[in-house]
Point group: C2
Chain length 584, copies 2
Amino acid sequence: MSHQESLTAYIAAFVSELVLSGITDVVVSPGSRSTPMAMVIAEHPDLKLHIHVDERSAAFFALGIAKASNRPVAILCTSGTAAANYYPAIVEAKYARVPLLVFTADRPHELRDVGAPQAIEQLHLYGHHVKWFTEMALPEKSDEMIRYARTVCARAVSIAAKAPAGPVHLNFPFREPLIPKIADDLFQTTERPEGYVKVVNGDIVITDEQFKEIAALLKGKEKGMIVCGHIADKTFGDRVTKLAETLKFPILVDPLSQLRSGIHSQENIIETYDTFLRNDDAKNALKPDIVIRFGAMPVSKALNIFLKENHSALQLVIDGGGGWRDPASLTTNMIYCHEATFCEKLQANVEIQSASSFLNKWKSVNQLTKDHMTMIRDTTQLSEAKLFCQLADMLPEGATLFVGNSMPIRDLDSFFLNNDKSITVMANRGANGIDGTVSTALGAALYSKPLYLVLGDLTFFHDLNGLLAAKLHNIDIQILVINNNGGGIFSFLPQSEHPTHFELLFGTPIDIDFEHAVKMYHGEFTRITDWDHLYSMMKADPPKGLKVIEMVTNREKNTKEHREFWRSVSREISNFVKGDHEWM
Amino acid sequence: MSHQESLTAYIAAFVSELVLSGITDVVVSPGSRSTPMAMVIAEHPDLKLHIHVDERSAAFFALGIAKASNRPVAILCTSGTAAANYYPAIVEAKYARVPLLVFTADRPHELRDVGAPQAIEQLHLYGHHVKWFTEMALPEKSDEMIRYARTVCARAVSIAAKAPAGPVHLNFPFREPLIPKIADDLFQTTERPEGYVKVVNGDIVITDEQFKEIAALLKGKEKGMIVCGHIADKTFGDRVTKLAETLKFPILVDPLSQLRSGIHSQENIIETYDTFLRNDDAKNALKPDIVIRFGAMPVSKALNIFLKENHSALQLVIDGGGGWRDPASLTTNMIYCHEATFCEKLQANVEIQSASSFLNKWKSVNQLTKDHMTMIRDTTQLSEAKLFCQLADMLPEGATLFVGNSMPIRDLDSFFLNNDKSITVMANRGANGIDGTVSTALGAALYSKPLYLVLGDLTFFHDLNGLLAAKLHNIDIQILVINNNGGGIFSFLPQSEHPTHFELLFGTPIDIDFEHAVKMYHGEFTRITDWDHLYSMMKADPPKGLKVIEMVTNREKNTKEHREFWRSVSREISNFVKGDHEWM
């Protein structure tokens, strides 16, 4: 048996099984050691191969595809530092629970740790940040090793996908010569042609008895609230809103919960809590006895402080992935159960409530805050706050909004209100980095159209290389860069009170004219001058190709505007809560 | 004792000790969790603080400073994926034996693995790729903990610097509030103000007895050769050339050995072996009985194949850092000894040889190959080979030449000839990646002036973000981009014989006009049209600011030119070796 035949048969078996396991997209970075895998992948008619020169961007691009397609995505690179460039996206995938299959090519054993070129220690290269690592055997063509290759492949796909989803790393040692033998029957499989192993991933659910116990906890608790952070499962929104209606609990919806937009019931939705939970009178009036929390930690610091202050309330955390999302150690009951199933089954176990004055209080304060946002909306100057107030109106039906970290996600949280459009909101909230945002959005844009990315100038800069994918793969995306020339978030933090090194260490203005970069990647660049200009740009037909709109703002004015709004709405809320009035 | 006082005293003690341990440069990326360390570093009058937004580039920038300054350099970033972006440069530092101090800020224990924002598992984040990892204690002000902070600092610096030099990782948990108390006496130290611990790093040396044994091995071996790869120690060149003269051995000098330029003896230097060791007649005439090899593995594949073919020769490998640099398992004697000391002491133990016909053969074939390079020099078209032939002539006295990986370093190896200028050659040859090259060169340019970077278009693209440092820190650098629109090296590899997916997977043209990027970073861009144009650009005054010269070449023509040259010189060599002639 020749080396080439073994190499080819083994990899073709692996790649066949990859497709039979449901994988459709592979992001490949050029390199020599990865040649056998890259060439076989390129031959498969059912795989979309996306080439990406910069491995850091490549991995985030794959992350975006996985987020938007709800399927694991494979990435492939050569040996050496190429593989180390995948690390940031792998860490994000781990914490954001996004399935990735990381395939790294490696030198064989005899060329490791002996000064061979591009040979680094790749075993456990990503440490604790992958769900599973395995060092593949050298290619062999025996029936046994073909079964091994197919089995490992199916197993890897299932581990990446099962809750909590995440990255899996397979390291492939390849000996030279690296060229596989490409023939027409490359993917012909005689044994189990429909797939070698079918893996059925179950969900974790609790028993009926346990549901009864939880229902008993809820009994007599009028002052209940539900908190929803990000959950990938699209069936969840409908289920949780039905549960909330039955219980007459307010649902505090993080922008990534996908509950601020869409066709589910909006009766109990509370979305301006990040503003009104800064006010002590509101917080006193809204103290809960019980909190039911789902999904990732919400973005709002005000909400998290409020939950902490109410540590004597029962706090139930429901997690279908088995983590421990509770940075303030508040949980009284940690419940490992698939979230949508939990809502459905709990609903069946509790009594329908007809009304709730507690819910009405939340709704009143929420409505008051929303009404007060005219203060932001009436601004004629370009303003970051107003942008997020107006976004839902500007975006077309069915749009996906990808939001950068740091200020944009916080402003989205504060100012993006409930709406009946079907808008999907995405962000990289696993580790909340500003890295890889452009690439993640571009990857998502392959499956979620039309896609609008809103991000700050430092975040845009950090992944400027990612724009190459837009050019090479003709991706349609509209990018709105909020350019306040530096790190806007620091103006809200205590660091800003220490001016000596503030601009050097935190403000970090980079004074870049992004028009050059956009032109380099053959995109259209527009620096908007006023709101009408922005509306006309945003409300035009969905983007074709790369379109970048820049909105120049000022960090100091921005901080001032936010603070004035919070002060003003806080006064209103205090007057309302303490005043002689009817709650809703 | 307040939290702020503890925080301040602990970090100030650490930073004081950092300076007293000889650290002068810190590269800081903006972030919140790293605030206490960043603010204290910014206050120290003896530290140069370089701010860098993109952590991947930041770490490579620090690597460049460390290479050029011969001192460990510290890098500091916030928690989360920021730290993961350091990984590629850390891996490179490990294998290139460059000292780095990696400081990552982290959430304290109670905020780990519980969904807190920007909190990822940072313990052992870089796995096997750092020489030492330690999780720092939370800041405390007790005398004991101040002693601890100072001791760990001195220890970390010494571990990073001692052979084999490399990266060290300290993870700092910080609790809020994060603002230190900046006062005039911040760095005043009463206990041991001259430095808390002075660490003396010894070198490994073998005994006189062991030297005698090695000298005995050499006795009667006329056909000896010395091979020098990269060694950071600047005293080595003079010592090894003296040893070679005593033994009358040829020295095969990798471009990174620093022995192709400079004022040391050039009597025994052989530099065109990458060309003539492709010829079987030459290889037959030049078979050694003994090989003495120093430093990193040489770039030349032809040389490595030649060494492998001569596996029955004694092959001595001298390594002052204690690694195992021998990918073909050829070593007969692995000698762990400081290299310059080895040369000096061995020289004292061997007899002076008066002449060697074996050396003369090497010199004859080398001279013939050099003479034949007129074939390359006479080209009037823009040519990658000719560029490297002419580089020594074009560069000013005292210049540093930083060379990109993939083709440029190989062409440098083949065509950059012995010269008496003092030119320092640098490259990232730890893991041979194309990543981070721009940033490493920019960091080096702070201490090695004037600096010229020569690299390919994909390498330039991969670290385009690195150019921001040139703009922000007004760094003087001249960059020559060889733009053959893709990965030129693959045209020399077997992949090129399989045209179906060649351009997609390996050629990877990106069709980018880099003029846009250079303008964005306020640099000067020139696309040269002919050789005179290039000479005038390169021979102008050393660069002020960012200057980028682009030379457009063609991958196919380039491969053809190389192959024709190799064939032609090979014919000459065969005629010469087999012919009736006098060796030198």
